[in-house]
């Protein structure tokens, strides 16, 4: 059985139903969440509210401390308000490079949308200032 085996094993013909043990624990639940978050046909409420930019949700921008996993090339954990958030899964990554010709407006970032402690966080490494930022907490 592959990923999401619990969902795939569901038999609608079975009138008596099956026990609700789709997710035996955190580890079995995470792939489903990630799959759903990555699914192109699922639109999150925050995206609907903020148009199609894809960076909706609560917009925040504050410096955070990130520990980097060089092997997997993803953030391993980050620390915010004194609390450590271990990254459970990398949902998406993208890059931004804007207004390079204007020193006041220039933006050069590598962004990581991660799942941590049950929430979805957008971390960004700012290439210009050489620091990590939390740029969004999305629903």
């Amino acid at each position: 059985m592959g990923r999401n085996s619990a969902i795939k094993a569901f038999d609608p013909a079975n009138k008596t139903g099956i026990p609700l043990d789709l997710f035996s624990g955190r580890d079995t639940r995470r792939p489903v969440i990630v799959e759903l978050l990555r699914s192109p046909w699922i639109v999150r409420g925050s995206q609907v509210a903020s148009g199609s930019s894809g960076h909706g949700g609560k917009r925040r921008e504050e410096e955070v401390e990130v520990s980097w996993d060089g092997t997997r090339r993803t953030p391993e954990s980050f620390r915010m308000h004194g609390k450590r958030y271990s990254v459970d899964a990398l949902v998406q990554t993208w890059a931004l490079e804007r207004a390079w010709w204007d020193p006041r407006a220039r933006l050069s970032r590598r962004c990581f949308r991660v799942l941590a402690r049950g929430g979805l966080y957008d971390l960004a490494y700012d290439r210009i200032t050489d620091r990590w930022l939390l740029v969004g907490i999305v629903d």
Binding site: G54, Q92, W94, A95, E97, W100, W101
Partner: protein, 1122 residues
């Protein structure tokens, strides 16, 4: 492997340099790389050759615009919200708005020919319609091609991004049907944007439904990430928008990523990356380079191309050689056998066909280049220099040991070149002829303009930044700004404001901008040309190949240069004018003259060469003073000596010293003495290198030519050592003393790379002698013809007019009752009447009307002129101001109206004529206009001399009455100025002060790397050559650029070795004023007349002044200079 790659040949939509692309692919260990530029194969052959050399497999491809496939109807039938976002125009032009991108890759030769045909059809089928590939054409030409669905500007990609999955599916279904099964892939690009995951998964889902394979690409537009800025700049400039440009890219991820990076992006879809390998395996194009493909020549039944060529050559022998000599017979037999062995007969016949046509129509032409080394071309009438008499060697032209495409270039009368071109199309068929393209690349100026436009700087600022840069490569921009004195106060030196602009402009060095048309290169093929290369319309309105001349040569196709030479037109015009004056029999055909007239050589030797073909430049005039040409061989030597190679090898000085007996002629071996007799022991000609190698080391001429080439091109130390050993061993074997052999080789090594092709010089010398003869015997006709064919030659029309005046020819001003469109000769060859062709604001219409009305009756006055010609106000004003209506009409004072009175009357008269129409009385009486008092009552114009001269310079670009400095003669003499004509009488190293108006300023590269400026000035008595060495240039660079007239202090150089020149140490600007203090404006208003631009009379157009640019920037009116 990357299968979707744009280079700089995507014209303003790619920043990847081909060499850098290939080097990076090799570094990443990629076995193959594709090149898929927009709409064409512009860079494909260079890429093919370079990639093979680097050891990777080249995959040739293209990204085309395909018509809409996913809709049953038109895009416009859909409601606006369902329409797709159309691709940007950059790289595609108008086609961008008519379809979507599709990537095509060539599998084999069949696919290559199909792709050429498909592109040609899309581009050439209609000049008015954009170049869009139809599905029908794609289906017909898809054999041998692999299709990829394209980037996010492909129809499927754009539909997925727009959430129109149904349309993407339909488009993919229909496009895939155009290809053989398995030859169409859905292209997946993960460009690290927030939308990328949904884009990839959306396309993936459709591909699975349609059972189409997928392939991963990255839409590469630059080699390294840091180059994304160049791409943005190019795309913005290419679409005439400011940054961020048409794509509004979110990031900088379109770089050539290594395999690991691509695998990581497509970790969930490994088959997409695997497919790149699979496609690479299927693409095995072999272009079969190295073979020759000649156009078909017409031969009679029962004849072969060789027999036809041989017969024509033998007939030519009888005609050209009387009596026929054994040497000529032997030479012809040898050349014909080589031509037959190499299979080049057809090529010669094609060239003969074209020149035969020109001859039959009386179109003047002359062959040039190494083709002059062949007796066959001489006998066929292609060239005019006798190869036996001038000791020209066939092996320099065609070396049987190196099977290389022959190249015969022919210059035709530029005015009638179109007739020749029309004949070529008629004779070989439109489908078999195309013009060769050139790739226009960015210089420093254009690079600065490109970046400045992308930065959205105001146009005045863009002009100010770019116009005053020297013509250098963009990568030298920073160095030029830092070191060139004329850039001392250039605005680009403001690094705080323009640092980024300068940096980016430097990186754009040599970037292709667009496809141009070669001046005269034609490709003629036996098969339809579209099976060899893609064709397209050029801006000029002709069909051009997408390949340049090097690409054509690589493909082994026949190329001919049908060049236009204005000197041929001028010579023909001179002969016509002279024959009209003195009778047809009195003027022989100049090309048929025996070149032995002492009077002609006297003219050349006195450096009185303005207008003479190849002999008129300041360097040549200086050389003439030292060389003192006496024979035709001397003309050949002069043309050869003043060339970059001989100049760099500093051959002139030993040549002149030995000629005048200042130093002895020494050669290492007596055999060389005979070979180098004409050049006094200096190895000046490439042909002499062959002869020396033959005489000293016993090389055959073919071997000797190979030796010469080896010595010339990219010679490494090891190679030279090998050649050296071989040469000396063979020479010693023939009994030549080792020391002599060593010295002979040393000299060959030193000069082989710098020698000039004697055949080329000899072909030119025929034209040079003809022009010199015409200048000697028909100076007025010759000068008028030069002026009628401007722009041509080294000098401006102003100088040609001044030169004619110095030869005693009267210059008559333009006049509505005497001038025609062109310059004409009057007073039995003693005067030239200025024509209207260069008059500012003159139109073709008005010119025609004036000529027609002159034939009816003379113009009586301004009203008569305006009524009969309906002259436009601006043109009429120009004519009045330049004096073309002087002396017409009569005022109450019983004298003709002054120019001021005519100008005052003009608006009212125009208004009355406009009201009255053409009907009615042709006498118009208006009250005399109020005008200021005449400045000079003695002159019919009422204007002062300074004002007349300023108007002449401004309106026709000529100083008709006198040289501008002649007005300031008294002032200049008071300042101790020496005139040009007096310089030869002064001794060497005399300190002098001269004054002159700038005619030319050149700063060629010198061996030492130091900058030296060669200024050609003109004063009322002649030309002055001034040398400004680096120290003086650093002080005076800005003065030279900003002003046109100078007073120069320096030391006179006047000796046999160096000729006459002034070594400047102080240059001051000079303001030309008359004795009365009136200022003479030295610059022309606009450098063009109805016949097109004549290179601006008093010199450069207005914007060449820094003051003008600065004034424009500040919105202030332009001031005077000089």
């Amino acid at each position: 492997m990357h299968l979707h790659v744009h280079s700089r040949f995507s014209f303003m939509d790619g920043a990847a340099d081909l060499d850098a692309l290939i080097a990076r692919a090799v570094e990443f260990g990629m076995p193959a790389l594709a090149l898929t530029d927009h709409q064409g194969l512009y860079g494909a052959l260079r890429f093919y050759r370079k990639a093979l050399k680097a050891g990777i497999r080249p995959i040739i491809g293209v990204e085309v615009v395909l018509e809409t496939a996913g809709l049953p109807g038109e895009e416009g039938d859909l409601p606006p919200e369902e329409r797709l976002h159309l691709p940007a125009t950059v790289g595609f032009g108008r086609a961008a708005g008519r379809g979507f991108h599709l990537t095509l890759l060539v599998k084999d030769m069949n696919g290559y020919r199909n792709l050429c045909g498909l592109l040609s059809r899309a581009h050439v089928q209609s000049r008015d319609e954009p170049s869009v590939v139809s599905l029908v054409d794609l289906g017909r030409h898809s054999e041998g091609l692999i299709g990829l669905s394209g980037c996010s500007n492909g129809e499927a990609g754009a539909a997925v991004l727009a959430g129109l999955g149904w349309r993407a599916e339909e488009a993919l279904r229909r496009i895939s049907r155009c290809f053989a099964s398995g030859d169409f892939y859905v292209e997946l690009m993960h460009t690290l944007t927030p939308e990328s995951p949904s884009y990839v998964s959306g396309l993936m889902a459709i591909a699975e439904r349609l059972r189409l394979p997928v392939v991963a690409t990255n839409n590469v537009h630059y080699v390294e990430r840091r180059e994304f800025r160049l791409h943005d700049v190019l795309a913005a400039a290419g679409t005439h928008t400011e940054l961020p440009g048409p794509y509004e890219r979110q990031n900088a991820e379109l770089w050539l990523k290594p395999a690991g990076e691509m695998r990581r992006l497509f970790a969930d879809i490994p088959q997409a990356c695997d497919a790149t390998l699979e496609i690479t395996e299927r693409c095995n194009l072999d272009l079969g380079l190295g073979a020759f493909h000649f156009p078909g020549a017409e031969v009679a039944v029962g004849e072969t191309p060789y027999s036809t060529l041989a017969k024509a050559a033998w007939q030519g022998l009888e005609r050209r050689y009387r009596p026929v000599t054994p040497a000529s017979v032997a030479r012809l037999q040898h050349e014909l056998s080589v031509i037959q062995d190499l299979g080049f007969s057809e090529y010669f016949l094609v060239v003969k066909d074209i020149v035969d046509f020109a001859r039959s129509r009386g179109i003047r032409y002359s062959g040039r280049g190494s083709a002059g080394d062949s007796i066959v071309t001489y006998l066929l009438g292609i060239t005019d220099a006798d190869p036996i008499r001038h000791d020209l060697l066939f092996e320099r032209f065609l070396n049987p040991k190196r099977c290389q495409m022959p190249d015969i270039d022919v210059d035709f009368d530029s005015r009638r070149r179109d007739e020749v071109i029309a004949y070529i199309y008629r004779r070989f068929g439109n489908e078999h002829v195309a013009m060769v393209a050139t790739v226009q690349k960015m210089s420093a100026r254009s690079a600065v303009r490109t970046v400045a436009r992308a930065f959205d700087l105001p146009i005045a600022e863009v002009n100010a930044l770019s116009r005053h840069l020297p013509w250098v490569s963009a990568h030298r921009l920073r160095e030029v700004l830092d070191t060139y004195p004329e850039c001392a106060s250039h605005p680009l030196k403001n690094t705080a404001r323009y640092g980024l602009l300068t940096e980016l402009a430097g990186e754009l060095s040599g970037c292709p901008m667009h496809l141009g048309t070669h001046l005269g290169g034609f490709i003629i093929t036996r098969e339809p040309i579209a099976t060899w290369m893609p064709l397209q319309w050029a801006a000029k309105g002709v069909v051009v190949s997408q390949y340049d001349k090097d690409d054509i040569e690589m493909l082994g196709l026949a190329k001919m240069d049908i060049l236009g030479l204005r000197m041929h037109s001028a010579i023909s015009d001179t002969v016509t004018l002279a024959r009209a004056r003195v009778g047809a029999d009195a003027v022989p055909e100049p090309f048929d003259l025996t070149p032995d007239d002492p009077a002609v050589y006297e003219l050349i030797a006195s450096a009185d060469t303005v207008g003479m073909f190849q002999l008129e430049s300041s360097g040549q005039r200086n050389l003439a003073m030292r060389l003192k040409e006496r024979t035709f061989e001397d003309i050949i030597a002069a043309i050869s000596l003043f060339r970059p190679g001989p100049l760099e090898a500093e051959m002139i000085t030993p040549f002149i010293r030995r000629r005048h007996g200042i130093e002895p002629v020494t050669v290492p071996h007596p055999a060389m003495g005979e070979i180098l007799r004409d050049s006094y022991g200096v190895i000046l000609y490439q042909e002499q290198v062959l002869r020396v190698a033959q005489a000293i080391a016993g090389f055959s001429l073919a071997e000797a030519d190979s030796l010469r080439r080896a010595m010339t091109k990219g010679r490494s130390r090891e190679e030279m050592e090998k050649i050296h050993g071989h040469f000396v061993t063979r020479a010693v074997g023939l009994g030549v003393p080792r020391a002599a052999a060593e010295e002979a080789f040393r000299q060959l090594e030193g000069f082989a790379a710098y020698g000039f092709c004697k055949a080329h010089a000899a072909c030119f010398a025929v034209v040079s002698y003809a022009s010199a003869w015409l200048k000697r015997y028909y100076p007025a006709e010759f000068a008028a013809s030069l002026l009628n064919n401007e722009p041509m030659g080294f000098y401006t029309p102003r100088l040609v007019v001044n030169d004619a005046r110095r030869h005693g020819i009267g210059i008559l001003p333009p006049h509505v009752n005497a001038s025609r469109g062109t310059y004409t000769v009057e007073d039995d060859g003693r005067s030239i009447r200025v024509g209207f062709r260069d008059v500012h604001e003159m139109t073709h219409r008005l010119l025609g009307v004036i000529e027609r009305e002159q034939d009816v009756r003379p113009f009586r006055d301004l009203a008569d002129f305006l009524r009969r010609t309906r002259a436009e106000a601006n043109a009429a004003e120009s004519l009045i101001r330049v004096g073309a209506l002087d002396g017409l009409g009569s005022t109450d004072a019983g004298r003709p109206s002054t120019r001021d009175e005519l100008l005052a009357l003009l608006p009212e008269m125009k208004a009355v004529i406009a009201r009255e129409g053409v009907a009615g009385d042709d006498v118009l009486v208006l009250a005399p206009a109020k005008a200021r008092e005449p400045e000079d009552p003695t002159h019919v114009s009422g204007w002062s001399r300074a004002r007349r001269l300023s108007a002449e310079l401004e309106i026709v670009g000529l100083s008709l009455e006198c040289h501008p400095l002649a007005l300031a003669r008294a002032d200049l003499e008071r300042r101790g100025v020496t005139w040009a004509r007096d310089l030869p009488r002064l001794g060497d190293r005399t300190r002098v002060r001269v004054a002159g108006v700038r005619e030319r300023a050149q700063t060629p590269r010198t061996r030492s790397g130091k900058r030296t400026c060669f200024l050609t000035l003109e004063d009322p008595t002649g030309l002055l050559d001034v040398v400004v060495f680096e120290n003086a240039l650093n002080r005076a660079g800005e003065t030279i650029v900003k002003h046109r007239a100078y007073i120069i202090d320096g030391v006179l150089q006047n000796n046999h070795e160096r000729g006459i020149a002034i070594i400047a140490d102080r240059i001051e600007p000079y303001v030309v004023r008359t004795a009365g203090g009136a200022h003479v404006r030295m610059r022309r208003g606009v450098p063009s007349g109805p016949m097109g631009p004549s290179l601006g009379g008093a010199g450069a157009p207005e914007e060449e002044s820094w003051a003008a640019a600065e004034a424009a920037l500040a919105g202030a009116p332009t001031g005077y200079d000089g």
